[in-house]
């Protein structure tokens, strides 16, 4: 049996997914033995031109990480889709939009204004902005065009498998690579390397009745490491987050922020979290409820921390922006 042909590409992301593959450590040599890495700009040498010249479906699998932020990301998504038998949305950004997707809370114009004008160290009296096409004395220079909104990978192309996590747990990506090499992938559309229950259901912290009168700020509070965060009034995204990460944040005594995305039976992670959080408030008095809810200072940025581009809410934002 020949080696399987693989590609890995980073779009709008941080490179942490690529690094997570390196964190296979000595096992990376086994990967090199079983797979031919035909395109992986972060670590290997190979050009987009090579990729374009391959026949369609030449690659056995492409692992795509990062969200779709600009025209180049979209082009690469379409190209890799065309050249691959299996396309994997690898990590939170490709899966759900991820942290870069928080940009969808604001317009692109605002984002550019803040970065290139408002930031205090910026010296830009002419209000210059990077432009798609710029003529400077020796010749023209081109940049990709930024989209108005950040998109998850499956909003641009069909995705066969999803590997959640920011970044995915190393053992799960190892299992994914083995499944690719052994042609044992589940049917298209599956979320691989994670279970289908909520993180809460496997959390080892003690759980009693959740009735709370106040939400706590971690700046002035140390949570008990043995007790459910929500019971202590600390917002935790465990109720609407797929398990599979091994509860790594909880073990560092910090609450979940939802990077594995929702389990199958939850359509919208943020909406589900909103209802979970509302249900633990211990009051029937509307004024008191109002005061307690006020303590949830950033519901959109907390409940949709990793999933805004794939949420219902993002659709609403997009309509407003267009």
């Amino acid at each position: 049996m020949g080696k399987v042909k693989l590609a890995m590409h980073a779009a709008a992301g941080c490179g942490g997914c690529d690094v997570s593959v390196l964190d296979l450590h000595e096992r990376i040599l086994e990967v090199a033995g079983a797979a031919e890495l035909l395109f992986w700009p972060m670590f290997c040498d190979g050009s987009v031109k090579d990729l374009e010249e391959y026949p369609d479906r030449h690659l056995d699998a492409s692992l795509f990480n990062g969200a779709i932020r600009n025209s180049e990301d979209e082009h690469m998504a379409r190209l890799l889709r065309q050249k691959s038998r299996v396309l994997v949305a690898f990590g939170s950004c490709a899966h759900l939009g991820g942290i870069p997707g928080l940009a969808n809370l604001n317009s692109l114009e605002e984002l550019l204004r803040v970065v290139y004008q408002d930031t205090p160290s910026t010296v830009n009296p002419k209000k210059s902005r990077p432009t798609e096409l710029y003529w400077m004395p020796p010749g023209e220079l081109r940049l990709p065009r930024m989209h108005g909104q950040v998109l998850a990978l499956d909003e641009v192309v069909r995705v066969d498998q999803y590997l959640p996590g920011c970044p995915p747990a190393v053992e799960q990506l190892w299992a994914l690579l083995r499944a690719i090499v052994q042609s044992e992938l589940p049917p298209p559309g599956a979320v691989v390397g994670a279970s289908n229950i909520a993180l809460c259901d496997e959390c080892e912290r003690s759980k009693g009745e959740k009735r709370i009168k106040a939400f706590r700020d971690l700046a002035s509070f140390v949570p008990d490491p043995e007790v459910c965060f929500l019971e202590q009034g600390v917002i935790c995204c465990g109720p609407a987050t797929r398990s599979g990460c091994g509860g790594r944040c909880g073990k560092a005594n910090m609450p979940c922020r939802g990077c594995y995305g929702p389990p199958d039976d939850v359509e919208d992670q943020g909406a589900k979290l909103l209802s979970s959080i509302a249900s633990v408030i211990d009051s029937d008095d509307p004024a008191e409820i109002g005061r307690i809810v006020e303590q949830v200072r950033d519901p959109a940025g907390t409940f949709y921390r990793y999933s805004l581009p794939s949420a219902f809410l993002s659709g609403a934002c997009r309509e407003e922006a267009s």
Binding site: C14, P41, S47, A103, N106, V115, S121, R257, R305
Partner: protein, 486 residues
């Protein structure tokens, strides 16, 4: 006028493109590095609770999340006007030394070593880590992978995960370590010191003993006469996570020394319409374009700048190596871009020695890891030395702790102008009318930016493949006249 496009530059984190313009005589007229990406953290961190930023900003870079996590932690401490207890500070420093340790290993062995161990013009299919292992031997190769792993493992032990960092909270950290875990780290750190010493020997044997390489390091195309910026402690010794920012000029004279919160008085950032990345400069000198020299506002950050800016290194083995560095390369400051590799090796030794010192201190196993703040949150600046250069985070909040303003200047951004100029200088040195455009020549241009370990090219691994770059030679109107594909 003809144009050469190097696109994509591979083995990079993020995206980058180099454009070279040749004049009628075939000499390099100009070289431009473009960064085609922007995610805009400065905007979407606004509105978030500032305590959450320590969890959000590590996602700026998955290669150096530790640097962003710690810079955020320090900025947030300042926002809440709270000082972590000694054990928490030591734990944070231990964590950070482990971070720099594995980052420097990855850069030196995986990214830089192929150019030196195998040679700049070696067969591209061998010019990678596997080629390096074949030449230096499997024992050393295995040790490289093992010690990168140790760095990641110490980070994960302390912070919960090696990449998804959630550990630093205002006034300390979210969990400590046990005495047993501390003793385990002592053993790992001992091994790290030995490995760093081995690395010094490797650099000696493979680079410094080779006259051609020393000549290359000291040659004109790889020199850049810029000021140097680095973090120093109260005795002006090298520091990676505490202290003041010091700038020395092209003659190693101090021209600025300031506390992190005063950075805006000293640094400005220029916007250019042809790249998404800004150009920082020293306000003292002003921005006068992409040029080096004593009157330019362009400065460098990163290992070479740090060793130039500091008067010494506090750990014994690294200090000896620092002396040898300046003695060999003609005294302080060193302007040789490729000397960054040696400076990085010296820092590898420094952080390994520091890890051992810190882990040997029983206080790091203390349960006193948090001080709570009762202050109204306001504004804070956090500065650390990321592996590849100074990292500045600046947050302003409302009275509820929601972020209203964020400013970030990252290591590679500080080096943006120097990287552009180093590329152009190397290009002029290796490409021209009488110099054939070979793969080796193009790789020698890439060596100029690789020396900076730029974060958009935080490449840490390189499996067998083809030449890293594709070259398109175009007429001025864009017509393709030649293609040099590997």
């Amino acid at each position: 006028m003809t144009r050469i496009t190097i696109d994509p530059i591979t083995r990079l984190e993020g995206h980058g493109k180099i454009e070279l313009f040749l004049d009628g005589a075939g000499e390099v007229a100009d070289a431009v590095l473009q960064i085609p990406e922007l995610r805009g953290f400065e905007r979407f961190c606004m509105g978030r609770p500032v305590t959450e930023l320590a969890r959000i900003v590590p996602k700026i870079c998955g290669v150096c999340p530790g640097a962003h996590h710690l810079a955020a932690a320090k900025a947030i401490d300042a926002v809440y006007q709270v000082e972590p207890p000694p054990a928490a500070k030591k734990l944070r420093e231990l964590f950070y030394c482990a971070h720099v340790f594995h980052s420097h290993i990855a850069h030196f062995y995986v990214l830089a070593a192929p150019d030196f161990v195998l040679g700049p013009a070696a067969d591209p299919s061998r010019r990678n880590i596997l080629g390096v292992i074949a030449k230096v031997g499997r024992d050393l190769g295995g040790s490289v992978l093992r010690h990168r792993r140790i760095g990641q493992d110490i980070q994960a032990l302390l912070a919960g995960h090696q990449t998804d960092l959630v550990w630093c909270v205002p006034g300390g950290v979210s969990k400590g370590i046990s005495e047993k875990q501390r003793l385990g780290v002592v053993e790992l750190a001992r091994s790290c010191v030995e490995f760093a010493k081995t690395t010094v020997g490797v650099f000696d044997r493979l680079v410094l003993s080779n006259e051609q390489y020393v000549d290359l390091i000291l040659s004109g195309p790889y020199a850049l006469c810029a000021h140097s910026m680095g973090l120093v402690d109260s005795r002006n010794q090298l520091s990676l996570d505490e202290g003041q920012v010091r700038v020395v000029d092209t003659r190693a004279q101090e021209i600025a020394r300031f506390a992190p919160q005063d950075y805006l008085e000293h640094i400005g950032e220029r916007v250019e319409p042809w790249t998404y990345l800004k150009f920082p400069f020293l306000k003292l000198k002003g921005w006068s374009g992409l040029r080096d020299g004593q009157d330019s506002g362009v400065y460098r950050a990163g290992p070479l700048a740090r060793i130039n800016a500091a008067d010494g290194v506090s750990t014994p083995l690294a200090q000896v190596e620092r002396e040898r560095f300046f003695a060999t390369l003609g005294g302080r400051p060193v302007h040789a871009t490729l000397a960054q590799h040696w400076a990085r090796v010296i820092e590898l030794l420094f952080v390994a020695e520091r890890m051992l010192e810190l882990a040997s201190d029983p206080e790091v196993a203390s349960p006193e890891i948090r001080r709570l703040s009762r202050q109204i949150p306001r504004e804070g600046v956090g500065v650390v030395e990321a592996p590849r250069g100074m990292l500045m985070h600046h947050y302003v909040t409302d009275e509820k702790g929601l972020v209203v303003k964020v400013n970030l200047i990252v290591g590679t951004t500080h080096n943006h102008a120097p990287i552009c100029m180093s590329i152009a200088k190397a290009a002029r040195g290796v490409i021209g009318r009488d110099k054939p455009m070979t793969d080796g020549a193009l790789n020698m241009i890439e060596m100029a930016f690789r020396a900076y370990d730029p974060c958009f090219s935080c490449a840490t691994h390189n499996l067998p493949g083809r030449a890293p770059i594709e070259v398109l030679v175009r007429e001025r109107d864009g017509t393709l006249i030649a293609r040099e594909a590997p």
